[in-house]
Amino acid sequence: MAGSKRWRVGLLYALAVVVLLVMVFPYLYMVLGSLAPWNEVDRKLIPSSLTLRSYEWLFQGGEDVVPRPWLRAFFNSLLVTSASTLLMLVTAVMVGYALSKVKFKGRQWVHNAILFQMFYPSIILLIPLFLIVRYFGWYNTYWAMIVPKAVNLWAIFMYTNFFRSIPDELIEAAKMDGAGHFTIIRRIVWPMSRSITTIIFLFLFMERWVELLWDMLVVNNEKMLTLNVLLAQMFGPYGGYPGPMYAASVLLTLPILILFLLFSKNFKEGMQFILK
């Protein structure tokens, strides 16, 4: 009996490892493709030797025929995503605090408006949003990619729910000591929400980082493109250079992967809150 159970657990682990390999395989394929000699990319599963040629090619800005500012695009992605994510976090904490800890007339109304908006299909807004951004003169600027993505309803919703679990007595006690709302947010609420903040930050950053449609619409100046958009646009023209395409994909994937693994310590508890 004990033997049969051990055998079953062993089988379960074997299965778990096989699934893990399937999930990780495309990443491995990408990394190997970026390091393989150019005549072996997409032809051999395991390259016979490794080379950095694809990365060098990329960092020099590509071939003379179709030069593209790959490093600049990476920088653009980093700037746009960080600014946008930071704004989304700050606004979500502010609004979430107002909706859960400040008693004011109209609070329920604001809350309902957010819920309604969350389930509204954003595709209808796409074309007019583009027109508004163009009207503001933001076409081809960072503003176009940052400001319309400065507020995130899901993040507000998450913080509102989380702040509700903070006891009111704590806030009242701080008020007795003469603390204002902004001090309370900074000194009490913000430190208490560290674990949920990491997971919300991760999701917001990730979603912003891989945005394609919007960033593609509001920018066509080569110098302003994000890495994701540049990579999508080079899909056809660079068809003959799969090696550099893999290198660019690695560049696109690495920041998210590093961020995720840094925060994965809190991953399970954080997810449990989000999935509730």
């Binding site: 990319v41 997409d42 107002a98 508004i132 507020v151 696109l252 992967l257 999935l275």
Partner: protein
Amino acid sequence: MGCSNNMNKHAAKVGWLLASPYLIYSAVFFLIPLFWALYLAFTNWNLISPEYETVGVQNFLDAFFSPSVRAAFWVTYKFMLMFVPIVIAGSLCLALILHHLPRWKGLFAVGYFLPYLASGVASSIVVKGVISYNSPLNQFLRDALGWDIDWLGSPILAPLVIALMMAWKFVGYYALLFLSGLESIPKEVYEAAEMDGAIGWKRVWHVTIPMLYPSFYTVTILAVGLMFGIFTEPYVLTGGGPEYATHTWQLEIYNQAFEKLNAGYGTAVAIINSIVTFASIFVFRKVLEKWGGKHGWE
């Protein structure tokens, strides 16, 4: 009395001040575009010319008879038919594996979640390479089995490839939903079932799966909703082809509004798209709730 009144006033000021980022944002980036869209859909504006006129419901009529809009309508359900069963079966299996692992559960969960981090563009590049003519996979299929497959040239395989890519991306995420469902099933339920002789696969089928109804509900609605927003993968991989086989709503709207510059018509298609989305999700909800009601779920 006066003091409390002051406090209320103060609270109102702070409340509206803190909520102001949302209010300003929604006014500029939600309400204005919303009404603008409702107006645009009835015009023939081409995104550039200063002159345009209202054309009544002409855009909606055109959309109704347009082959590409009809394609987008059906393609979405085709994607659903492929994606939803695969991703539900897959994520349930992953959740069952994770749930029964005595150790390193969190570590494997993190590993299974990794595909969710991938950009659709990057994974499209990998898929394009894996199924390219000289790839190890196609070489093997040709040499060992004599199969010469043009993956993205086939109207059945092309959407299947995209559905599988998306399943790969979302399966680990949905598995976490099923896992939290599994963890919330009380031990007594299993013990009672064991008394009745339900063990092994019988237990999975008759006890675990019906108990997981809330997770099934959430995952199905999420997966169905996702199918109405596919853009990146067909945009870079197939361009909607072959012959509209992967032509999604978002691709149609993007093409109409920003390639052909039919802003008015594109907006009309977007409105039709959201009505279809709402209606479809509503029907799915009702069907699922009926099924759940039969099994004792409210």
